[in-house]
């Protein structure tokens, strides 16, 4: 029998091995390149969010529910640090071949209250000023466009504000049973909701966790406490307290300077007390701070050379 053998030369072997290695390297480089590109896009989106949120109040219209839209469906992961002025960090996380790649940026001027992770393309943002009684910053309350909050038996003042926002995301009803299916119910005093607001105690209770608020600082803290993850809210509140303390010190310096110009305010001692109280705040009720803030507001209103 005559069987013709096939000559598997060195040239062929070399070409196959080298070719396989080259294709392998090219594929790996391609995947890495796409991954770096995705991370870059994530970083740019995160930085854009940071720019959008930074000088506050102006980028997103105050007191209105605005839309935020990402170029595609992604996740926004929020972080918060309360060291010094603290910062809010934004990570835009993208899925890349089953792997999660992200870009990160942070801002020391923005206060964002939301869940730790938000998913989707469209988000809702409500900006509310925080007044201590002077403005400390704007709280941006951020949630997914698909989320619905159902406010049960809300007090009149709050109901008017919610109705004025004219949004299908925020519904006001009387009786928890009237809440739309799939919405997060918020009860004021009564039971039977996933979130309970104790107006007298100044607490928002979510399961076993509760966070403080006080309406004398504006409704921003209440909305933030309802929507936000308790950990994020507590961190943002600590940052606001710290900044309010710094502002109190700034107003003390300003009133001292104005005294040399013949325009004394007489508010220095009250502001000093407020600054100390803010410095000592370590969670819990905001009642005494709010009372002190109210007293400063009353005295400030009577001034000729106002401080803020």
């Amino acid at each position: 029998m005559n069987v013709r053998g096939y000559e598997f030369s060195f040239g062929w072997m070399f070409a196959i091995i080298a070719g396989a290695a080259l294709v392998g390297i090219a594929l790996y480089a391609g995947v890495r390149f796409i991954s770096v590109g995705q991370e870059g896009t994530g970083s740019i989106e995160a930085a854009q969010l940071s720019v959008l949120f930074t000088p506050l109040g102006s980028s997103i219209e105050e007191g209105k529910l605005s839309f935020l839209e990402l170029p595609k469906e992604d996740s926004i992961v929020l972080g918060c640090s309360s060291q010094g002025l603290g910062s809010t960090s934004f990570r835009v996380v993208q899925d890349d071949f089953g792997e999660r790649v992200s870009g990160r940026t942070s801002s020391s001027l923005s206060y964002v209250a939301s869940a730790v992770e938000l998913k989707g393309k469209r988000f809702r943002a409500l900006t509310k000023p925080i007044l201590f009684p002077y403005k400390v910053g704007d709280m941006i309350i951020l949630f997914e466009d698909s989320e619905r909050y159902c406010f049960v038996d809300a007090p009149n003042e709050l109901e008017e504000e919610l109705v004025a926002l004219n949004s299908s995301n925020l519904v006001v009803v009387s009786g928890a049973s009237r809440c739309p299916a799939g919405s997060k119910s918020v009860c004021f005093g009564s039971a039977g909701c996933s979130i309970r607001v104790e107006l007298a105690e100044g607490l928002v209770v979510k399961g076993r966790k509760s966070v403080p608020f006080d309406l004398r600082f504006g409704t921003g803290l209440l909305f933030a406490a309802i929507v936000s993850d308790p950990m994020i809210y507590t961190c943002q509140l600590e940052r606001l307290m710290h900044r309010a303390g710094l502002l109190a010190d700034l107003y003390i310096a300003k009133t001292n300077y104005l005294s040399t110009q013949g325009c004394s305010s007489g508010l220095a001692s009250e502001l000093e007390l407020f600054s100390n109280e803010l410095g000592e705040y370590s969670g819990g009720s905001l009642h005494s701070l709010a009372s002190l803030a109210q007293s400063i507001e009353r005295d400030h209103d009577a001034l000729i050379c106002t401080l803020y």
């Binding site: 590109g37 720019v51 010094g84 502002l247 803020y308």
Partner: protein, 169 residues
């Protein structure tokens, strides 16, 4: 004693050499293409980073007056800058307020009515023209500016002037 040796024909040697040349050429080609892609993507990313930096600086310059540390205060003038407040803030920026303005240069200049051209210090304020909050005028980089209203108390009354905010990201 027996000697073993492998003999390649000159044709086979030629083929191996050709293959080696082709492979070297291929590696160089892939390297050039990779370099081109990397340099393009890096320049695109650094361009985007630069754009974002200047967008941030521009936005901050336009809205600096909305920060409570700068604001003259609503309802008197929501978008005016409080010069007295900024002057006392200048001394606190290195300490407790570190990180408030993460820029290389931030300054506020009083344009009209004109003032003696000099940087404000505690010795010459308010008879000066520029409050330098971060860095000084020798800082390199493209500066973004925005016109603002600046108000302060002088002689028992309020004086508002035209000014400009300069920010280098």
């Amino acid at each position: 004693m027996m000697h073993l040796s492998v003999r390649y024909t000159s044709k086979a040697q030629m083929q191996i050499q050709q293959l080696a040349f082709v492979l070297v050429a291929l590696v160089i080609f892939v390297g050039i293409v990779a370099l081109f892609f990397i340099s393009t993507s890096i320049s695109r990313l650094s361009g985007a980073a630069e754009d974002l930096k200047s967008a941030g600086a521009e936005e901050l310059a336009r809205h600096l007056s909305s920060l409570p540390e700068f604001s003259w205060g609503a309802p008197r003038c929501a978008h005016c800058i409080d010069l007295d407040k900024v002057f006392v803030l200048r001394e606190q920026l290195g300490g407790a307020y570190k990180g408030l303005l993460p820029m290389r240069y931030v300054a506020i200049e009083r344009l009209y009515p004109p003032h003696t051209k000099r940087v404000c210090t505690s010795l010459n304020y308010p008879d000066c023209s520029t409050i330098e909050l971060v860095g000084n005028s020798s800082v390199n980089g493209t500066s973004r500016g925005a016109f603002v209203s600046i108000c302060h108390y002088e002689g028992g009354g309020t004086i508002c002037e035209l000014g400009k905010v300069y920010i280098t990201g």
